[in-house]
Symmetry: D2
């Protein structure tokens, strides 16, 4: 719709820069009467905060939502909802290298400088910072509420960090993810992942990983045809999260090596309901839900900000040099990305539910 | 924008059903004066035809474009361009099972039946058939022409079919892809893949595979921020191709296992131009091109239509049964999907070039 | 949404040029199962044909719709609907002056030449011809069908032609409009208007006029807030009809001279239903229907194509000269514009009904 | 695009409610590097403030803009711009009648109550208050800056209030409008209009009027075809201003009574530039600028809030009664609407300039 928007019947426009006045989100299409609870939104925001453990950044993001419009007496009015979180607790001084023209490897600095002719806000990555996902999370909290009549629950968890990979979990086993430091709801793998992160951190390095999204059974037919297929919209959303480099639905890349007779999920009747024996499709056929749980895997590259000195170039002076980053950076963002991926999944589902007439309270 | 549209400054709306009157595409935003050559479009269409070899379907798709609007004396007028290809050479009788209520495993039949309350055209999968990609290919041919001033060339090739995988190729080595039956431009792997396909075919089964997209060096800064990042828009486009189950940019899932110090592409100066020592980013940083070649890998599940009998259900009678498909089906669509993936890549690039003001002839 | 589109939940994209291959429309969002009857569409198209009387052009427009997609067994499938009417019965030779660079006063020729750098199709005005309203009428026929569950009926009639003005009529009196040559359902004024047209025609001149749109009582709350107010969307639609120069809702310009105490429509209860004593609002308050009939008046300038010789310039040679038009032109288009204005009204209502959840069959 | 948005390449989303936390606007598409001066925005906002004279409301709207994103060091960054004005100086108690269910004649209360099921914010009209035009004015200030390279100047003035009408003025004579209490830049008519307003005010009544928008000569070809014609987009924008009931371009309704030979604006050459002898077209042909000044007239109904007691109904109790409004209301909003209409005109021009490639700094 617009460059910074996601969705159609439920539409969010993301705005804000890392070290600007605020980050936030505008949402259109929330059915009038939907409960909007600031406390619940703040709980969502708390989930994307840096952990208190040694494995995460020390930047304090004590984020608290401020709702500017669209809510009256705790309910959505049907008018556009705008909510912001003020930016604070950062230090501009860490970004003098950016003003000088040094571009960080792995970051958006270089293409952003060219595209915006140097007018983009470079502090903390500006518009390209993961800080903007604050707005995604707010939108997810709202979308979760919109979906309540459809009883849709989305659960994400850390599937891998670096070389540590946890086995597949269903929604019941994964639901406790936020009780685990790494958001990997397996005591064993959570511990291994923490070790892996601390090791990378000690070496001034960083790690990537994967997140798995799953749900319970879903209504059949969510998703619109062709370019608005459920998988298209989900992938578009996930690739908007900084550092995402891959998205798989169901068996994904593994499916490319299977035969049709192995990969096709066979339909059967169970208690007079249609179900499938396997779920290689990850719950999506022809761009629509087929009733089975959604299964998505999202790959994140390792954090680009590392403390190790790196070679790079200065785009203003066109010279090479060595850049050593200061400031506070996560060695691994996977745990913090779990609620972000969940939020976007909720949002896409809510948009599709409204587009498809599954919810009609507008 | 709309459910069936892709792009913004250059926008296509896909329409048509497999066994309806025609499939086609409407495109808005073609700069007035862009050359539109029917012959070139037909050459593009010829690339997605079933091959003449034994490995492919026998359905004759002698597709020839018919332009309905937007062109005058061989040039785009600036008005909406509409082009169709008539559907012919199919047999409706093969789809009586659909009318009866039997749904094919792996296909959209079941969710489509629920979503459209039985009003969707079931013949050949209707709107969910790969036949609709005819319109994508027409759009790609137009987009390629729009991009000429930017000298952007997109080359896709078959990276794997079933268990046969070909090594990474750069654009120079891959350019001859259409001289190979499987669109894998390696004589050795092309032969192995053909074997693999024939084997599956003989067994009434089907295969999936992966396609690699690459380019030469690109202008810096193509791609819009956040939800319209280049990777978001590409992924959205690719997931609109039937059977796609995964998309990776650059190192993709492999990147999730690397350290930051390994994955970051180091900037250097070469002949006073900024370049990188590696290309794990696949040419995209912060959702924008960084000047390096685009690298994308797309995973396709095996063709859902197989000749082996399969268990399934009847959604009208709510009973189980065995379904054996007739008709003409590809045992592997990867070779035919290469021009489709290329076309969508060209289209997304052209849209981004217009959005970002790289081309201004509107 | 896009330059050539109208609507959101129901969306049409207009395409085609006057002397190109075809004119037509693509519609997204038609609820699956909506009856699509070619015969009824052709009846709608017949209403915008030139009349057989002396007062109209002699160009034969024997328009017959050809549906290309989105319909199966007479019902909408839920997929995009595309329909065209082939262009025929015109003579290209009349437009050699355009190729030479002469621009017609009152027409789009000059700005179109500049904007499209000479690549636009100049024959018959190309994209700027009233011929493109064929697509609007097709869309109106479809929208009328979508609105059936809400029992919304739209009736337009010729309110004035030149200096002849007919009194205000309610929907009951106006319904017979198509039995009158001028679409003015008053025997007396119809005769006077015909005279006026013949007089202008004899003098090689042309006439404008006004069209009134009305309805019966409407559901309350149709229309979205602010920029998608019902009046905003209607005005946008009407101003897309060539030659429209003014739009009034209800008392319109007359309201600007009233006092608030005169203009406010007083609410009363009648049979326990809320109604108003007057309808200065024309049925719209705050951009939404208030239950009273819609009242709109649309002003059309006189036809720009006249047979009298006119001074003008040649944009290629940059010189002045005299231009005398040939070909077949209506001396007054008001009668033919009545179904066009009705069609757009139906379309906007149907879009609003879908946006607002009044109809949910998607 | 979305219900609350205007424009495409330059897009604003309006948000906020009269007595909510804030009113504001989100703008996408501002070219990076555009100067954004808070002081200038506040000057624009000051123009829509109630006048200090007796003729206007006493509500103090000491509006001061707060920019939340999209600006760095006084220049647009290319990221979404969000700006708000906090709501203050109002008294909620005046709206207890709304909570009780009484609907004000002429206001949106009744349809809004039905559409939003009672969840809309009723205080001060909520989303339907003229207060939301604060965001339009901010957007206009930004758009004016974007248009600077094209030297486009928009001047609006009060053309009539009640029965007092001022003659047509060109841009030079009208430019001093803000030095006049009523924004009618004629000492004589300004005085008469003030009298008219005071008289209505004394009687507890209100007045409507008309606003004329004009410009100097314009670039040729601004405006997109058909549904995005310049007149379509302007009309859509103007009808979004509360109380607008009519829009005319150029000769407007008067043109409907002219002959083609009278109404056609004859092209001539003047200093080797194409110009027209008259400007009945109001500067728009075929939906595009033809180089002549824009001429638009906008009709406003009288203010719906009057102090005279009025009959009305209670929608919760379904009973009739008498309602007498308290609070502070303008007797005539025309003077305050002048900058609002100017702002929207600038905005539409800037959007069209970006859509058409007249400005390419994105």
């Amino acid at each position: 719709m617009s460059d910074n928007s996601l969705g159609r019947s439920l539409l969010m426009v993301s705005f804000g820069e890392s070290h600007g006045e605020a980050v936030g989100v505008l949402i259109e299409g929330i059915p009038a009467g939907t409960e909007i609870d600031e406390k619940r939104i703040n709980e969502w925001l708390a989930r994307r905060k840096p952990s208190t453990s040694a494995a995460s950044t020390k930047r304090k993001e004590d984020d608290s939502v401020e709702i500017l419009s669209g809510v009256y007496r705790g309910k959505a009015t049907g008018a556009p909802f705008v909510a912001i979180v003020r930016n604070k607790g950062y230090v501009d001084d860490f970004y003098s290298f950016a003003e000088e023209g040094w571009v960080r490897p792995g970051h958006a600095d270089y293409p952003a400088y060219i595209k915006y002719k140097g007018f983009n806000d470079p502090r903390g990555g500006g518009r390209f910072s993961a800080r903007i996902t604050v707005g995604f999370v707010i939108a997810g909290a709202v979308a979760e509420e919109i979906l309540k009549p459809l009883r849709i629950e989305v659960v994400g968890y850390t599937k891998s960090i670096g070389s540590v990979e946890c086995p597949d979990l269903d929604i019941e086993s994964a639901r406790k993810r936020y009780e685990f430091e790494t958001r990997c709801p397996s005591t064993e793998h959570d511990a291994l992942m923490q070790e892996e992160i601390l090791k990378a951190k000690r070496e001034g390095d960083s790690l990537g990983g994967t997140i798995r999204i799953t749900t319970g059974k879903l209504p059949v037919g969510l998703g619109q045809p062709v370019f608005s297929s459920l998988d298209s919209e989900l992938a578009k959303a996930y690739f908007s999260i900084p550092a995402v480099k891959g998205v798989e639905i169901g068996a994904g890349f593994r499916a490319s090596k299977l035969r049709g007779s192995q990969n096709n999920d066979i339909y059967v009747l169970s208690n007079n309901e249609i179900t499938t024996l396997t779920n290689n499709a990850g719950g999506i056929l022809g761009g629509m839900t087929n009733g089975q749980p959604l299964i998505v895997t999202i790959a994140f590259k390792p954090v680009s900000s590392i403390y190790k000195p790196q070679r790079t170039v200065n785009v203003k002076k066109m010279e090479e040099g060595i850049l050593q980053l200061k400031g506070m950076h996560d060695a691994c963002v996977i745990p913090r990305a779990v609620p972000i991926a969940e939020a976007l999944t909720y949002f896409v589902f809510a948009d599709m539910a409204l587009r498809g007439g599954f919810i009609n309270e507008r």
